[in-house]
């Protein structure tokens, strides 16, 4: 790995996102909306890191990351909504408006802990982690893998989505939760808070990246790749595959949950639409487009795809699907290592005058 090249990439990223954009915002030539948008893309990038860890490195195609994302998101959203609640329940605890409309008399028990910010934060991490632990335990214990894994997680996401859609679950149904006012006493609509959330998201992304980097560079990361290559060989070499899978599943769920928590106050709404089957598939797409099995690729992919999604739905409202579709197809056909791979190829080509690259690119031709 060319460390110099990496350094350049990091430097560009930091300069652009940590200095130019925030400064531009403070000086007024970058709108608050742009800041919020990028803040949200960073959240997506955090999820993408998780997806890359579990799919790119471990080879487990999990199609329920969006669900974990929403678990995190909902817990913060519930807290914010409770803080902004005007109606009041029979037991005197404030109650979100939508419950009042639905003739709910008292705040449901599972809403109660979300009055406290600390508890919300804790639950926002604990619930997804517990979910991943229990669900993962059963899946991995019975050695479900490959497509079976993909479909079973998709089934989970689908079932959860259906449940969240229901009004009876007291989570706002299809509408989800919206109308957020304050977080920790700070008004979410002020530019300062928006910028703050942006910076927090960026820093969290940085930390998540650093953490993931450490993870995959450690022997733990190699075991993950070994599992991807040959699960049985990994077992025969005395690694408890299930523990590793479970651990990385939980890590990925936590990353998704953290991202969800940061996403919600910046977006102002969370609905079950964020966790439907499409949402999870799209998360996998980001990683694949950016370059599977490379952490930078995951970040790059999620930022670029979401950025394109935003601008295309505005610039080409009638044809953005064509554009995005063609992007996907061509990336896959011509840049088989994702955008990052493409970038590296270009860089390598430019630098090849100095030293020829000995990297073999072939793959197993015969395989049974």
């Amino acid at each position: 790995m060319g460390n110099k090249k990496d350094f350049g990439l990091y430097a560009c990223g930091i300069a652009l996102f940590l200095i130019i954009l925030p400064l531009g915002n403070v000086l007024g030539f970058v709108s608050g909306n742009t800041i919020s948008l990028w803040g949200r893309y960073f959240c997506f990038a955090i999820v993408a890191l998780g997806v890359d860890l579990i799919w790119g490195y471990t080879g487990i195609l999990s199609m329920c990351q969006a669900f974990f994302f929403c678990l995190g998101g909902y817990s913060i959203a519930m807290h914010i909504v409770l803080k902004g609640a005007t109606a009041s329940g029979a037991n005197g605890i404030p109650m979100p408006d939508f419950m009042a409309w639905n003739q709910v008399e008292t705040l449901p028990f599972f809403w109660v802990p979300f009055q406290s910010f600390g508890l919300s934060l804790a639950l926002g991490l604990l619930i997804p982690a517990a979910f991943a632990l229990v669900f993962g335990y059963f899946i991995f214990r019975s050695r479900i893998r490959g497509v079976y894994m993909a479909i079973i997680t998709q089934a989970l996401a689908l079932a959860m989505w259906l449940i969240f859609l229901r009004n009876e679950t007291m989570l706002g149904g299809t509408n989800g939760l919206t109308d957020f006012k304050t977080l920790l006493g700070l008004s979410l609509s002020t530019p300062g808070v928006k910028l703050g959330l942006y910076v927090v998201s960026l820093l969290t992304l940085g930390i998540a990246f650093w953490f993931s980097r450490k993870l995959v560079d450690s022997k733990f990361g190699k075991v993950l790749q070994a599992i991807r290559d040959s699960e049985s060989r990994t077992s025969y070499t005395a690694y408890r595959v299930m523990h590793y899978k479970l651990a990385i599943f939980i890590v990925a769920a936590l990353l998704a949950a953290v991202a969800g928590m940061l996403y919600v106050p910046q977006t102002g709404i969370i609905t079950p639409g964020r966790m439907d089957v499409r949402a999870s598939v799209e998360m996998v797409m980001w990683v694949a487009i950016g370059g599977r099995g490379k952490l930078k690729g995951a970040i790059l992919g999620s930022l670029i795809v979401n950025f394109l999604y935003s601008i295309c739905t505005s610039l080409f409202p009638d044809s953005w699907l064509f554009i995005l579709g063609f992007l996907f197809v061509t990336t896959v056909l011509y840049f088989d290592k994702g955008l990052l791979g493409m970038l590296e190829t270009v860089v390598a080509k430019l630098g090849s005058k100095r030293k020829p690259s000995p990297q073999p690119a072939g793959h197993e031709v015969m395989q049974s």
Partner: protein, 413 residues
């Protein structure tokens, strides 16, 4: 296929423009209904521009696609208000999408013209509701079904898509039916998710329910679930004769290319039907066809108008008239100028309420004909005033932006 057709007729491009946003899903589940609204808003803008624009400025539409994704609705509305700095936004169909953009509009002092019938219980400063409130659609329809003329139905199956509008609508309907002495066991409520396709089980439940006779369905099914629902209804041998469906979200546009054979005789309640006979309406329908044909929109001159299309169109004119009246595009000036504003819509003269951001308009009930049009079988006498807070479920609340700044609690007697 039709990008930029709105500005196509903008001859003097140098002229100053005023931007408005169009926020309708052009893809995803709701595109089926919302694309036509985008089209008609563009048509209204073209018409106004051709007549010289508003306050001497040409209107420049900014079209975005929120893709039936509620988060994206919020994001796009932010973009329209903050980055594009539009003076007004015409958009949304489902109440979910409206609720998701509501905080954005309120926070950033935007103005949203919302053209679809909805469940009420809302009274936002930032929204002009040109669609019907429950008392302008739901209640008259239920009343009609119970009347001798309407068939004297005694059992009601409330079937809807699972989201705010149907939930709230059914809450109100239930309250109304109970107040009219319909026993509890004669009312059934059921919901299906968006995009639900398989109605076998539900229809057989309806069939059992209807076995006693004198039963009807009040449907708030939205979007593309309707066709399979009606198809299954006919398949299992139910018909308008044995158990009619009164729909609140099925209009001509949804029936446009549908095989209407199995829909004939079922009912819908709206404030406008394309079949309304009046010269203004005739012109409106023809204009819309011509517009779609000219711009090569799918369907071309086979396109039809319907209630939301009519009110989306009306919304643009209301905004333009109010801006002229206020002499400004500023939201704080346009908003009060809207109060009491009258407009000769394709549906006849309609009038903005003096204080609650809604529109007074006629109510009609139509029977589906084989050609996908409606036979108007009942019509209210005169305009019905909007009641955003239903008297049945929220007797203590009312909406007044002049005297109370929005929703307020009525002093109880």
């Amino acid at each position: 296929a039709c990008g930029g057709s709105g500005s196509g007729s903008n001859q003097e491009s140098k002229k100053e423009t005023v931007k408005v946003g169009i926020l309708h899903s052009l893809s995803g589940t709701m595109a089926i209904s919302e694309v036509s609204l985008k089209d008609v808003v563009q048509m209204a803008i073209d018409e106004i521009n051709a007549k010289g624009g508003v306050l001497g400025k040409q209107i420049e539409p900014v079209i975005v696609d929120p893709a039936s994704d509620w988060d994206l609705f919020a994001e796009k509305s932010k973009e329209l208000l903050l980055d594009k700095k539009v003076s007004a936004v015409f958009g949304c169909w489902t109440s979910v999408s409206r609720k998701s953009v509501l905080p954005v509009f309120e926070e950033n002092n935007g103005l949203l013209f919302y053209p679809v019938q909805y469940e009420g219980e809302e009274c936002s400063t930032s929204v002009i509701y040109t669609g019907a409130t429950p008392n302008q659609q739901l209640i008259p329809a239920a009343e009609y079904m119970m009347s001798e003329e309407g068939g004297g139905y005694k059992k009601f199956y409330l079937l809807g898509t699972d989201y705010v509008f149907p939930r709230t609508a059914n809450k109100i309907l239930k309250a109304f039916l109970l107040s009219k002495g319909v026993p509890k066991e004669n009312i059934v409520e059921e919901y299906t998710p968006f995009h639900h396709q398989d109605y076998q089980t539900i229809v057989s439940k309806v069939k059992q329910f209807a076995a006693g006779g004198k039963a009807c369905v009040l449907s708030t099914i939205n979007g593309d679930s309707n066709v399979p629902f009606y198809k299954e209804f006919a398949n299992q041998g139910l018909s308008a004769a044995t158990c009619p469906i009164m729909a609140f979200s099925v209009a001509e546009d949804e029936l446009r290319a549908t095989d209407t054979e199995f829909l004939v005789g079922h009912l819908a309640a709206w404030n406008y039907f394309q079949s309304k006979e009046s010269p203004e309406n005739k012109k409106f329908v023809e204009d819309f066809r011509a517009f779609c044909k000219k711009n090569n929109l799918p369907g071309g001159d086979k396109r039809v108008t319907d209630d939301p299309i009519c009110w989306a169109y009306t919304g643009v004119y209301l905004w333009a008239k109010a801006a002229e009246k206020a002499g400004s595009f500023e939201v704080s000036k346009v908003r009060p100028a809207l109060y009491g504003l009258e407009f000769a819509s394709p549906d006849g003269l309609v009038k903005m309420d003096m204080k609650n951001h809604h529109l007074a308009k006629p109510v009609m009930i139509g029977e589906i004909k084989p050609d996908g049009q409606f036979d108007i079988i009942w019509q209210s006498t005169g305009l019905v005033n909007p009641e955003p807070w239903s008297k049945l479920t929220s007797p203590d609340k009312d909406c007044d932006h002049v005297g109370h700044g929005g929703t307020y609690t009525v002093a109880s007697k």
